[in-house]
C-alpha cells in the first residue's frame, strides 16, 4: 500500500510570467474545466466503491466466534482487519484528492473568465487585440508630436499597464491556488514535482536578449508617463500656492485701505512673505518636474529607436515573440 510521507512541500518554479513590453496573451488554451470536474467525479466514485469494500472487510473482520471459529478463522479475521485499515486509508486519500481536483476545476474556470475580462479591458481601452494577444502601444513618438498625440500615447501606455497588471494578478492567483492541488497530491498520492518529474517549459535562449530590449523600451515609456504625471501634480501644487498668495495679498490690500491697526498689517505682511516663499518653492519644483519629464520622454524615445534598429537588423517583428502561457 502507498506510503505517504509528511516532508515539507517545496514549491517548484514554473516558466516565467508575462514580461512588460511584450504582447500579453489573453487566450485560455488548457483543458476544459468541465473535464477536470469529470475527473474529480471519477475519483469520488472510486472512493465510494473503496469505502464499500472497506465496510465489507470490516464485517468479515468482526464475525463472531459463534459463526466462525478456530485458529485459521482468527488468522482470516486478522487479514481482513489489516486490509480493512488499508482500504479505509485509501478511501480517505481518494476522497481528499477528489475534493482537490474539484477545487482545481474551479481555479481553471476562474482563470478562463479572468482572461475574457482581460481581453474586454484591452478592447475597452482601445488597445489592439490580435492573435489572442494584447499588443503594446507603438514605442516611438515623433519629436514634433502634438500635445494631443503625446496625451493619447500616454493613455495607451496606461491602458497597457492596466492590462499587464491584470495579467500578472491572474497568473499569481492561479499559481497560488494551484499550490493547493500540488499539496493535495503530495499528501494523498505521495507524488511531488521535484521527485516525480515536473512539466516545465523554459523560453528559447536565442530570444531572451531581444526581448530585453523590448522590455527596456516599455519600461522607459512607463517612466515617461509617470514623470509626466508628477509634472502635472507639481503644476497643480504651484497653482494652489499662487492662489493662496494672491488671496493673502488681497487681504493685505483691504487692511491697508480700511486703516487697520499697524500690528494687523505687519502680521499680514509676514503671512504674505511666507506664502511667497511657498510659491517660489512650488515654482522651482514644477520646473524640475518638467525638466525630468522631458528627460524621461527623450530616454523613452532613445530606447524605442534601439528596439526598432534591433528589430530591423534581425528581420523579426514584434509578433515573433515566443509564446507565453499565463
Amino acid at each position: 500500500m502507498r506510503a505517504v510521507t509528511t516532508e515539507p512541500f517545496a514549491a517548484v518554479e514554473e516558466e516565467p510570467g508575462p514580461r512588460f513590453g511584450d504582447p500579453i496573451g489573453c487566450a485560455y488554451h488548457w483543458v476544459d474545466p468541465a473535464e477536470v470536474d469529470d475527473y474529480g467525479a471519477v475519483l469520488r466514485r472510486l472512493a465510494g466503491r473503496v469505502e464499500l469494500a472497506a465496510d465489507a472487510l470490516a464485517r468479515t473482520a468482526g464475525m463472531p466466534e459463534d459463526d466462525f471459529a478456530g485458529e485459521a478463522a482468527d488468522a482470516l479475521r486478522g487479514r481482513a482487519q489489516t486490509r480493512h485499515q488499508e482500504a479505509a486509508a485509501l478511501h480517505e486519500h481518494l476522497r481528499g484528492l477528489g475534493r482537490a481536483v474539484d477545487a482545481h476545476a474551479d481555479v481553471l474556470r476562474a482563470h478562463r473568465e479572468g482572461l475574457h475580462d482581460l481581453r474586454a479591458l484591452a478592447e475597452s481601452r482601445g488597445l489592439e487585440v490580435r492573435d489572442h494577444r494584447v499588443w503594446p502601444p507603438v514605442s516611438t513618438l515623433p519629436g514634433d508630436a502634438t500635445q494631443d498625440r503625446v496625451d493619447a500615447w500616454q493613455d495607451d501606455w496606461r491602458a497597457y499597464q492596466a492590462c499587464f497588471d491584470l495579467a500578472v494578478e491572474l497568473r499569481e492567483t492561479r499559481r497560488e491556488r494551484t499550490r493547493d492541488l500540488v499539496r493535495a497530491l503530495a499528501e494523498h498520492a505521495g507524488v511531488r514535482p521535484e521527485r516525480d518529474g515536473a512539466h516545465l517549459v523554459l523560453p528559447a535562449r536565442g530570444q531572451v536578449s531581444f526581448g530585453r530590449l523590448r522590455e527596456r523600451a516599455a519600461e522607459e515609456a512607463m517612466e515617461a508617463v509617470r514623470a509626466d504625471e508628477a509634472a502635472d501634480a507639481a503644476r497643480a501644487h504651484l497653482a494652489v500656492a499662487r492662489r493662496s498668495e494672491l488671496a493673502a495679498l488681497d487681504t493685505l490690500e483691504q487692511l491697508l485701505a480700511s486703516g487697520a491697526p499697524a500690528e494687523d498689517v505687519q502680521a499680514q505682511i509676514a503671512a504674505v512673505a511666507v506664502l511667497r516663499d511657498d510659491t517660489d518653492r512650488a515654482g522651482r519644483a514644477a520646473e524640475q518636474a518638467d525638466a525630468t519629464a522631458a528627460t524621461e520622454q527623450a530616454q523613452a524615445a532613445r530606447a524605442a529607436r534601439h528596439l526598432h534598429a534591433a528589430e530591423g537588423r534581425d528581420g523579426a517583428s514584434a509578433s515573433s515573440a515566443h509564446e507565453r502561457t499565463h
Binding site: 488548457w30 476544459d32 465510494g48 466503491r49 485459521a72 488499508e86
Partner: protein
C-alpha cells in the same frame, strides 16, 4: 488447518458482500479516464491518480482473495457433510441395516 464455519449462512452473506464490493470496485476502475488536454501539473496529477488506482486494484484483489478463503471453508464444511453421509451409508451396509 481450515477455519471452521459454524454459521454457514452468516459466512455466505459476508462472502457475498465482499465479492460484490470487489466486483463493483473493479467496474469503477475500468471507468477511470485521465484528462488528455494539458494544464499545469497535469502529468503530476495523472501520476498520482494512477498510483491510487493501482492501490484500489490491490484492494479489489485482496477482497477477492479473502472471499475465496471464506468460500473454501464453507465448501469444506459442505463436503464434510457429504463425506459423513457416505460414511454413514457404508457403516449401515456393513451392519446389514437397510439405509
Amino acid at each position: 488447518m481450515r477455519p471452521i464455519a459454524i454459521n454457514q449462512g452468516a459466512l455466505r452473506g459476508a462472502r457475498a458482500e465482499l465479492e460484490s464490493a470487489c466486483a463493483d470496485l473493479r467496474a469503477a476502475l475500468e471507468e477511470v479516464d485521465h484528462p488528455r488536454e494539458d494544464f499545469p501539473w497535469r502529468d503530476l496529477l495523472v501520476a498520482g491518480v494512477r498510483g491510487l488506482v493501482d492501490d484500489a486494484g490491490q484492494v479489489a484483489r485482496r477482497c477477492g482473495s479473502i472471499a475465496g478463503a471464506m468460500d473454501d471453508s464453507v465448501l469444506d464444511f459442505d463436503q464434510l457433510d457429504v463425506m459423513v453421509g457416505r460414511a454413514a451409508e457404508v457403516a449401515a451396509r456393513l451392519d446389514g441395516v437397510a439405509p
